[in-house]
């Protein structure tokens, strides 16, 4: 382990590490979603968005995560997509 990290604040709290790891593993446990599903969603999303914009396929990232619903603070699974747009297509403007 990096010597400097040992003393950094972030690493001090192993409970936060535990919490983050636990949240992530539970998202997968709860959803029953396979990596194949994510790949399929990714492919479809690229196809749809490419009709309107030129996107950076390499930088595209889709993941399943957990967050609190705004209306009532209940924990929900959410599909979060980060899609870098290079430029919009001319015919849309």
């Amino acid at each position: 382990m990096d010597l400097f990290n040992v003393f950094s604040k972030k690493n001090k709290n192993s409970k936060n590490i535990a919490k983050e790891r636990l949240k992530l593993v539970l998202v997968h446990d709860r959803s029953d979603l396979s990596p194949k599903f994510l790949e399929m969603v990714k492919g479809d999303m690229i196809r749809v968005i490419e009709e309107y914009a030129e996107i950076d396929e390499e930088g595209l990232d889709i993941k399943l995560t957990r967050m609190k619903r705004e209306s009532d603070d209940m924990p929900v699974s959410a599909l979060v997509a980060n899609i870098p747009i290079i430029k919009m297509k001319d015919n849309i403007k």
């Binding site: 709290n13 409970k15 535990a18 919490k19 790891r21 636990l22 593993v25 446990d29 709860r30 924990p75």
Partner: protein, 263 residues
């Protein structure tokens, strides 16, 4: 008509049997008629934790197979009136009892007892399915570790699929010193993640080991923190509103004095 409660966890070694013995004993101390049922067939242990291992004649398999009457299978506790144990069989396996038989057994017990506390085996296979078959409510025991909380989450999902919504959680073996240093998940973290109600918090306590050595559940002792925690849990089960135990109370007066002097 009594209430049947299953104590379960998914993961092994988190304190299901200890919780069952202490909740059963604690409720009996409050004057209720209680039976604790061991469904961990092949790996029975509730008998030794209760200190009743020398009194077993018949077991749960004998009862469901009708080799004996229900009354003959029940072992009277050596100290508390109104407290009984129905032990698991040690030489059979989990398939020796079917969920339908379990449901019938629990319904029969509910006519006789106020509370039926069912100790579930680890895992999510048939033994677990048997243990929840007749239960009205489920209490999940977990510890502040990733593996235990993950398994608790899985079990909560399985219970919900069986229509047992709103299980309650007991967080066992909390170490306040580690929580304070940020090296252990605290109760809020765990409840937040599992999104269920909290029934109680039990501190990690040497007194549990000592009481298990003796075969006398810790709840019957006056002073240990874990005993207070289990007594509070029992009162909550009976519908009383009891505040969460202040784990700081466990600090010796001497330590408190030192802290006062140096603060």
């Amino acid at each position: 008509m009594g209430k049947a409660i299953v104590i379960t966890s998914g993961k092994g070694g988190v304190g299901k049997t200890t919780a069952t013995a202490n909740i059963g004993t604690g409720l009996a101390m409050l004057g209720y008629k209680v039976v604790v049922v061991d469904t961990d067939i092949g790996l029975r242990n509730l008998d030794v934790v209760m200190g009743l291992e020398n009194r077993i004649v018949y077991d749960i398999v004998d009862v469901v197979e009708k080799n004996c009457r229900l009354k003959q299978g029940l072992i009277r506790d050596k100290r508390f009136q109104g407290l009984f144990l129905l032990p698991a069989a040690q030489t059979k396996d989990k398939t020796a009892v079917k969920p339908e038989q379990m449901l019938e057994l629990v319904n029969e017990l509910k006519e006789e007892f106020d509370y039926i506390i069912i100790d579930s085996p680890a895992g999510i296979e048939q033994g677990f399915q048997n243990s929840i078959a007749g239960a009205d409510e489920a209490y999940i025991v977990t510890t502040p570790e990733i593996s235990a909380v993950r398994d608790a989450d899985r079990v909560i999902g399985l219970l919900e699929a069986k229509g047992m919504t709103n299980p309650k959680v007991i967080v066992n073996r909390i170490r306040l010193d580690m929580v304070k240093r940020g090296n252990m998940m605290n109760v809020e973290d765990i409840i937040d993640i599992l999104a269920v109600d909290l029934l109680g918090v039990v501190p990690d306590d040497e007194a549990i080991v000592i009481s298990t050595n003796k075969g006398e559940p810790v709840v019957s002792e006056e002073n240990p923190m874990s005993s207070k925690a289990f007594r509070n849990i029992c009162r909550r089960i009976t519908g009383e509103e009891v505040e969460l135990l202040d784990l700081e109370d466990g600090e010796g007066k001497f330590t408190k004095l030192i802290k006062l002097l140096f603060s």
